[in-house]
Symmetry: C2
Subunit: 318 residues, 2 copies
């Protein structure tokens, strides 16, 4: 795949510019290690982990592969500084930060010799990331699972605008589930891609089997950007989602919605498999996902699909 080598593969020292996004309760050391072993970049999602647990997962990933592994640190969690220090102590050199200001840790991490990427949902925020000194940005569209931006900018419109605004590499995220979409993202100007949902439904993901099966069963309209008056988050439709949606449509006080959300919903749904009461964060591309392969099989499919898409673009179509 010589044409999959670019500035993102050089930046991280990886074979394919395919990154597995950090996902709470889903992307532990087993998944991140497997993705890096298969030639992509695996990220341990620190979001749901206390520093001790994060250390365990980083070590697990490092036992699986000698290749680079990164950590995704959402900056809204109270442990984020300890998480960063834990990862540094274990030799992590690649940090993806999100859900907070890129100014907060970028210089600190760059001074330690790390590569830093921040996740953004608009060209305006992407420019702030570049000004903060990050090496690259993840530009994540409206179709992405989990937390999302308020402007509802889709991947198709976001990527070219971020690419035009910045001089650093752009990693496209949101709605990318197969090799065709990787080719589409590169056509739009991205240098690499970040996939969440596709890797959530692999053997090595720590998502509960019920959740993996729900991803496979999803159709194109099975997710919706929800809880916009709290923090916008894309959820798989289930009983919990319906309750929240009825409350939102009836203009229920956001504090009451927060109360109904309560604590532990995401863990209950995604890790423990409660498909009714759990909060199921997943992307709109779930509708395309029809199997639960190993990470190695998944990566082979992605690369093969990418190459087929390029071949198709190069011949008289049909």
């Amino acid at each position: 795949m010589p044409n999959l080598k670019n500035n993102i593969t050089d930046l991280f020292g990886i074979q394919y510019p395919i990154i597995q996004g950090g996902m709470v309760w889903v992307s532990g050391g087993k998944l991140a290690g497997a993705v890096s072993k298969a030639g992509g970049l695996g990220l341990v999602g620190a979001g749901s982990m206390k520093p001790d647990l994060l250390a365990e997962h980083i070590k697990k990933a490092q036992q699986i592969t000698d290749k680079p592994v990164g950590v995704n640190v959402p900056l809204l969690y109270k442990y984020c500084e300890e998480q960063i220090n834990t990862a540094l102590d274990l030799g992590i050199k690649i940090f993806f930060t999100s859900a907070g200001s890129p100014k907060k840790y970028t210089s600190f991490l760059k001074d330690k010799g790390c590569k830093v990427v921040h996740v953004t949902s608009s060209p305006e925020l992407a420019l702030k990331c570049e000004a903060a000194g990050v090496d690259a940005v993840v530009a994540e569209g409206f179709e992405a699972g989990g937390h999302n931006g308020r402007d509802e900018i889709t991947t198709m419109t976001l990527i070219p605008q971020v690419v035009d605004a910045l001089s650093i590499p752009v990693i496209a995220a949101g709605g990318i589930g197969d090799g065709r979409a990787i080719a589409a993202a590169i056509a739009l100007g991205a240098s690499g891609v970040q996939l969440g949902s596709r890797f959530a439904a692999t053997q090595e993901s720590s998502a509960h089997d019920n959740f993996k099966q729900a991803i496979v069963n999803a159709t194109s309209g099975s997710t919706m950007l929800s809880m916009k008056k709290l923090v916008p988050v894309r959820l798989l439709k289930n009983k919990f989602w319906e309750e929240i949606t009825v409350m939102e449509e009836n203009c229920t006080d956001p504090a009451k919605i927060q109360e109904h959300l309560g604590k532990g919903r995401a863990k209950a749904g995604m890790l423990e498999g409660d498909m009714n009461e759990g909060e199921l964060e997943i992307g709109q591309i779930s509708g395309l996902i029809k199997n639960i392969p190993t990470v190695e099989e998944c990566m082979k499919d992605l690369v093969a699909g990418y190459n087929q898409a390029i071949e198709r673009l190069n011949r008289k179509l049909f």
Copy 2:
């Protein structure tokens, strides 16, 4: 451009698989004729036109070019049957229908030797179009301007799912503003593309100059899918949009919102240039659009941009 020839160019007898979407108040005969003359497929948007006015616009397009020109007929308008008969009388052989059942006129039009395409926003509806006997579908994503689907499926996730579900050609729409996005759509499996906003901001479009300038001034987050409790429609944010949005956020009775919408808002905004009180239907890709070229210049840019994107995909990146 031999690689831009495919089953869509064969279907319509055109040079490039680039279609100018029908847009109320914006896509008259001047725009449709210019797009067809430049090698794409121009569509006269019948939506806002009484049959007599439609006839005038079709004749105008036919005076500009001998090449095929189509008509877009939204099936929710009371004049739609007369519109179809008017177009047939004037020799129109290409019909894009939307906003209604594909069963309604497809057989009738096919029996008259016409090519029929229906616009859809989900794989499920696309299958109904195929069953109704259409020659192709337009699969239009959440980022598109104007009327939109309820499932909020973006172009990036919609296209591959529609392509996988159907055996007829798929035309991608929503969020396509330059040649990079055309390449992306083809990578996702589409056989052609339909562009609205890009052609709305050309010299030949009948959009008011104020509206064209507002498209050029738009940034990535300047539009929003609105009026979801009536019919979801993507609008440029302005005073009218703010009023409607406040009403929606406060759970105002939809009948009151309908009353505030009133009549003639779209004409006032898009044709007559009232940027405060008018309803401005436009796509999210407005943020990318930075000029008001002639259609010929626009088509040259699209094709050149497409070829550059393909070249980029074929070489070691950067």
